[in-house]
């Protein structure tokens, strides 16, 4: 009983603290909403995990309409995404959830979808101009990403510091660039004074190029102690490259990676520590957001608060990382090392 009272008081407090006049909205289960989950492309683990999370939410909400998980093949990502949005509009679905890989090229298709009364929710990667998008479900705060990476670098290189380099995805990947900028901002703190960043290279999210780029970094900067790769493809390729060259004792690898793929390198010390958010939770939260927008229980406007099942309460705010657009922020990071990577890889 006491727990209930406490929980009630806490809820009340959160309700009063949240900006705007909206109350905490709870979803009404059992409404038939046709929804499409659209990843950047099919066939890689993180998106599949997001799909699992969305299915979990769909089951909880007892949506009688089956969730459609549609995506293009890797070769056809940009054109394929636009095609799927266009087809879904013709079919007259109620909501589309997009991890956008097409930049602003997807805007015309997304706008047509909205004109047809479809709710467009982006997740993982937003529409840069926010046109044609109702709300973006962000995995983590970009500023926090920078701090997490700076902290991992400090922990791995130790108090005496040293030189490190960055292996990113492509030079025009919006997420990665924002994260790197946030990390450089974080490094200005005197706490990190002894960490010196010496170069940035790009592996275009291809294993082969990332692998070669990691080796080129070691050749170009013989003294580096760490390669920081804020990309799940790059971090694995860099770890394998260091292992193949027998350099794991000198050059460590860190960044953002998927536990299942990193398991071997974390256990053998090549990549002692890395971070990621839960893609299962991201899919779950995205489904809740899109469902409640589609049923009309919540509106896509700043200050709107709602409860997303087991994850708790969220509020829609203006997106501080873009000029326009609204955002729901998920967070937080999970940090993985030898102690917890095995459990997470299951």
């Amino acid at each position: 009983m006491r727990e209930y009272v406490l929980a009630g008081a806490a809820l009340l407090a959160v309700g009063m603290l949240s900006p705007g006049a909206h109350a905490q909205v709870k979803a009404t289960p059992g409404k038939a909403e046709n929804m499409v989950l659209l990843p950047k492309f099919l066939g890689i683990l993180p998106f599949d995990q997001a799909h699992r999370g969305a299915e979990e939410a769909a089951a909880e909400l007892k949506n009688p309409a089956k969730l459609q998980y549609l995506g293009p093949t890797p070769e056809n990502s940009v054109a394929g995404q636009i095609e799927i949005v266009t087809n879904a509009t013709t079919q007259g679905v109620n909501a589309i959830m997009i991890s956008n890989n097409s930049g602003d090229q997807i805007v015309p298709a997304a706008k047509k979808a909205q004109a047809a009364g479809i709710k467009v929710v982006t997740w993982d990667s937003p529409i840069p101009s926010a046109e044609g998008e109702d709300v973006f479900v962000a995995q983590v705060d970009f500023t926090q990403t920078g701090r997490v990476m700076a902290d991992m670098a400090l922990k791995i290189m130790g108090p005496e510091g040293g030189k490190f380099a960055i292996l990113s995805a492509s030079p025009d990947a919006a997420n990665q660039n924002a994260w790197i900028a946030a990390m450089q901002e974080a490094l200005k703190d005197p706490k990190y004074a002894k960490l010196q960043q010496v170069g940035i290279v790009y592996g275009n999210d291809q294993s082969e190029l990332s692998y070669n780029q990691a080796l080129a970094l070691v050749d170009k900067y013989p003294g580096i102690k760490l390669i920081m790769a804020p990309t799940s493809v790059g971090i694995v390729a860099a770890a394998k490259a260091m292992q193949d060259e027998g350099l794991c004792n000198k050059v460590k690898v860190s960044g953002l990676g998927v536990p299942k793929e990193m398991l071997a390198y974390t256990k053998n010390g090549c990549a002692p520590e890395f971070a990621l958010w839960s893609f299962v939770d991201l899919g779950y939260l995205t489904y809740y957001t899109a469902y409640m927008l589609a049923t009309g229980e919540i509106k896509a406007e700043p200050g709107q608060s709602f409860t997303a099942g087991r994850l708790g309460n969220y509020t829609i705010t203006k997106d501080p990382t873009r000029k326009a657009g609204l955002r729901v922020l998920m967070g937080p990071f999970s940090i993985y090392d030898a102690s917890n990577v095995e459990a997470a890889a299951k």
Binding site: G43, L45, H51, V201, E208, D219, K220, K260, E261, A345
Partner: protein
């Protein structure tokens, strides 16, 4: 001059000049990059070229027959993944099993291409553009988004890329590099001396004539595609060993590098001329440039532009220089015939 002409074919001059170009490139990069002349640089280039080279050998055979195989990247991805899943499920399998799985699956995929091109009479660029997408699509479906991860593979496979065959003066000759080299030598010898392999050239030089003299043209085309698929399968196994983590993206875009290696190496895109050794040299040239430009850390976009320029130069030099050389050789042959002709004509 006559002696030289009898000993050397124009294609060999082309290959020799490419070798010279590689040396020039190495000298230029050596002066621009510190610590360039080390065994490390050699190892880097060798390891990065080996996979491209194996696929380029198969591509050469296909291009010789006036066809092209654009599906090689997808075949590499599929075979790497399927072999990886199999060995991950049972780490105790003998080493030869994943190799055989990859090669057999690759050969089967190549056979599909070959049958469609030879019997379906569909241009190879259309067929293989289609199978490029179909094979990758099947892989996406089959994988169910699972990744083959390093920790699920047996230690011998993960350590294979590090394994040296022998070490000579600090140059580590890796087992996989030696394997690629052995394949180049074997196919070079076969295409030079074996009757059946010479038929690739005959068919590509003049398909009508090949048909007229009764060569089994369809079977030759099929064979070229099956071999290209099988070698892509072997490259798939090498990809599995080298990267450990295999997603559905493995081998994506490889077809461009492979076609580039063959073309830069003097394999004529219109069929009938070019050698396996040439394709390997083309691969080495591209690998040297790629690795060295990475070391120089020049802008991403410039690197691609340099690569494109190289391909254009190769094709242009083929059209201009090699044509002149061939004309020179042909004229000399004609003169020789002309010189011997009057004697027979003078006996009334």
């Amino acid at each position: 001059m006559t002696w030289l002409r009898r000993r050397i074919r124009p294609e060999q001059i082309r290959e020799f000049s490419l070798l010279l170009l590689i040396v020039v490139a190495v000298l230029i990069f050596g002066s621009a990059i510190d610590n360039y002349y080390t065994s490390r640089t050699f190892n880097r280039i060798a390891s990065s070229v080996m996979i491209i080279t194996v696929v380029a050998v198969g591509q050469t055979l296909v291009v010789l027959t006036r066809n092209i195989d654009l599906s090689v990247g997808s075949i590499v991805g599929c075979t790497a993944y399927v072999a990886g899943v199999r060995i991950a499920a049972d780490n105790g399998l003998p080493a030869i099993v994943p190799v055989l799985i990859a090669v057999a699956l690759g050969a089967a995929m190549g056979a599909i291409n070959g049958v469609l091109v030879a019997w379906g009479r569909v241009p190879s660029i259309i067929v293989t553009l289609g199978t490029l997408a179909i094979f990758r699509g099947l892989l996406v479906d089959y994988s169910g988004a699972r990744t083959v991860t390093t920790d699920s593979l047996p230690p011998w496979l993960v350590d294979l890329p590090r394994l040296d065959l022998f070490t000579l003066a600090g140059l580590h000759v890796k087992v996989m590099v030696a394997l690629a080299l052995a394949i180049v030598i074997a196919f070079q010898l076969a295409t030079s001396y074996l009757t059946f392999a010479r038929q690739f050239y005959a068919l590509g030089s003049n398909p009508d004539a090949a048909d007229l003299i009764g060569l089994p043209t369809r079977r030759i085309v099929l064979t070229a595609f099956v071999l290209s698929g099988a070698l892509s399968g072997l490259a798939g196994f090498m990809t599995l060993a080298r990267f450990g983590n295999i997603t559905v993206e493995a081998g994506r875009g490889l077809e461009l590098e492979v076609v580039a290696a063959a073309v830069v190496g003097g394999v004529n895109i219109f069929g009938g001329s070019g050698t396996v050794i040439g394709a390997m040299l083309g691969g080495v040239m591209i690998g040297t440039l790629e690795q060295s430009l990475l070391r120089l850390q020049i802008n991403e976009f410039w690197r691609d532009a340099v690569m494109g320029l190289l391909i254009l130069l190769a094709v242009a030099s083929d059209a201009v220089i090699l044509k002149r050389l061939r004309a020179l050789w042909a004229r000399a042959d004609l003169e020789m015939i002309a010189r011997s002709a009057p004697r027979t004509g003078e006996a009334p």
